[in-house]
């Protein structure tokens, strides 16, 4: 492979690595030294070849090749800046029905209210509102917002309903969470069991002086538990409820299937398990630089290739 082909290959590599930050955002790899080293080598090779081509040391159409490489260098530098020295990824947990400021984005995120029907469907939305910009509904597909790419990820959540033995509904609170009076728990903590981490959260029932710890199990987790081989494999998630009084004394422990009432420690607890979105934001290359650099690389590269094809017969004649 000659020097020009090598430089163009590195240019393509730099563009692909940079565009990847937008298409597959929030990967730790973009902040790793290996990613930086590859982009750095590509930039160095491109810069040296562009400088030599501009001075006519790398054959015909050198200035056009230099321009194409300059475009790729701009893209690579944008990728390097957002990767190596870009801010860390941001995960925003929002309580359903609340507005949460996201200072990094200069925006506020509105997390849609959730009810027992919303969580199993997993279709709750997050809307981003910025000053002087229309509201944007954020989905699982990455959406560029300034120097960030934002998207949502679905995580386990549960809507909780508690009744006393007379069937009267009771208030639930979340003393350890910012969403003190939300009936939706978002499993912000984790419990390590052997080599695996399971989503964990806690709520309280102040009227009965009960604290309930909830450990989330996916259908696959439940299937992995010892069970009668004759019984069908679970298709719904479940949770283990562990109840203490306010002094920490154990009051009961049981497995609660999603959507069904479970009697424990003088309470009738119904957990509707499902998913609720969290907002993820990852730093992204400057969109204008990335677009302009890629366009320059393509136009100058194609222009150079076309001229080269046109001039090829002339060169053959000159050889005679």
């Amino acid at each position: 492979m000659n020097a020009r082909a090598t430089a163009i290959a590195f240019a393509l590599l730099a563009i692909v690595l940079t565009v990847a930050q937008d298409v597959y955002p929030a990967r730790d790899w973009y902040h790793a030294w290996q990613y930086t080293a590859i982009l750095g080598v590509a930039l160095l090779v491109m810069a040296v070849h562009a400088w030599r081509a501009w001075r006519g040391l790398e054959g015909p159409h050198g200035k056009r090749i230099a321009l194409a490489l300059a475009g790729a260098v701009a893209v690579g530098v944008a990728g390097l800046l957002s990767g190596l020295i870009g801010p860390d990824n941001v995960t925003v947990f929002g309580t359903p029905g609340t507005v949460t400021p996201v200072p990094d984005l200069g925006a506020a995120a509105f997390f849609a209210p959730a009810d027992p029907g919303t969580l199993p469907r997993g279709d709750a939305t997050v809307t981003l509102r910025r000053r002087d910009a229309p509201a944007t509904e954020i989905g699982r597909r990455p959406t560029p917002v300034g120097l960030w790419v934002v998207f949502t990820q679905l995580r386990p959540a549960a809507y909780i309903e508690v009744r006393n033995e007379r069937g009267e509904r009771l208030t639930i609170t979340q003393p350890n969470n910012p969403s003190f009076l939300s009936p939706v728990i978002l499993f912000r903590q984790q419990q390590q069991i052997h080599d695996r981490a399971f989503p964990l959260d806690t709520f309280a029932v102040p009227a009965l002086g009960r604290i309930v710890h909830v450990l989330y199990f996916s259908p696959a987790d439940l299937a992995a538990l010892p069970h009668d081989p004759a019984t069908p494999l679970p298709t719904e998630p479940g949770a283990i409820l562990s109840v203490t009084d306010e002094a920490g004394a154990q009051q009961g422990i049981t497995l609660a299937p999603s959507g069904r009432e479970t009697d424990i420690a003088g309470m009738r607890v119904t957990l509707t398990l499902g998913t609720y979105p969290v907002l993820e934001a990852a730093s992204a290359p400057q969109p204008f630089v990335m677009l302009a650099g890629t366009v320059l690389f393509l136009i100058a590269g194609i222009w150079s290739a076309v001229l080269r094809l046109r001039c090829a017969p002339l060169r053959i004649k000159e050889e005679y």
């Binding site: 029905g97 507005v99 009267e168 009771l170 639930i172 350890n176 910012p178 003190f180 102040p206």
Partner: protein, 162 residues
């Protein structure tokens, strides 16, 4: 100031920080929910009035202590355009109704079984009081029980301003 935080104290690291106080100036969120005595009610239904919402629950001692002050405020200022809405959080209508009757409460009691109001107004404990101005925007959010004098200081200037 006192309030119910259900063990471990209030979670003051609220998303965005600051609890109900941070909502001052924001448009008031409204949900239509059942009202004891029949029908539904909401903050939005009283647009143009000064609305004082009080989030409470029957198990919350400071909420009980605060009720007489709220009742006195309501009786004194409703003629001047004050609307008081007591919004029970997460309990059955029967439970809230029995409590209101036992405590001689005559202002409207709403039953928020899904705890949407307290969640939306970032309550970090009970009781929580939120005052909404005539323009439908939050004037002030307060965490913890208030005295009659504090309630009067809160709504007096708003009622005086036409």
């Amino acid at each position: 100031m006192s309030g119910c935080y259900s063990g471990g104290g209030p979670a003051h690291s609220v998303d965005g920080g600051g609890g109900p106080a941070m909502l001052a100036g924001a448009p008031a969120v409204s949900y239509a929910i059942p009202r004891i005595g029949g029908g539904t009610d909401s903050v939005a239904a009283h647009h143009g009035s000064i609305v004082l919402m009080n989030f409470w629950a029957t198990w919350c001692p400071p909420c009980q202590e605060e009720m007489p002050a709220l009742e006195t405020l309501y009786r004194h200022d409703r003629a001047h355009g004050l609307v008081v809405l007591g919004i029970d959080q997460g309990e059955s209508a029967a439970k809230a109704a029995a409590f209101a009757k036992a405590h001689g409460v005559t202002f409207p009691i709403l039953v928020d079984a899904d705890q949407r109001y307290a969640t939306s107004y970032v309550s970090v404990g009970l009781p929580t009081t939120v005052v909404v101005g005539r323009d439908g925007h939050v004037v002030k959010g307060i965490d913890g029980a208030q005295t009659l004098a504090q309630f009067q200081a809160l709504v007096g200037p708003l009622l005086a301003a036409k």
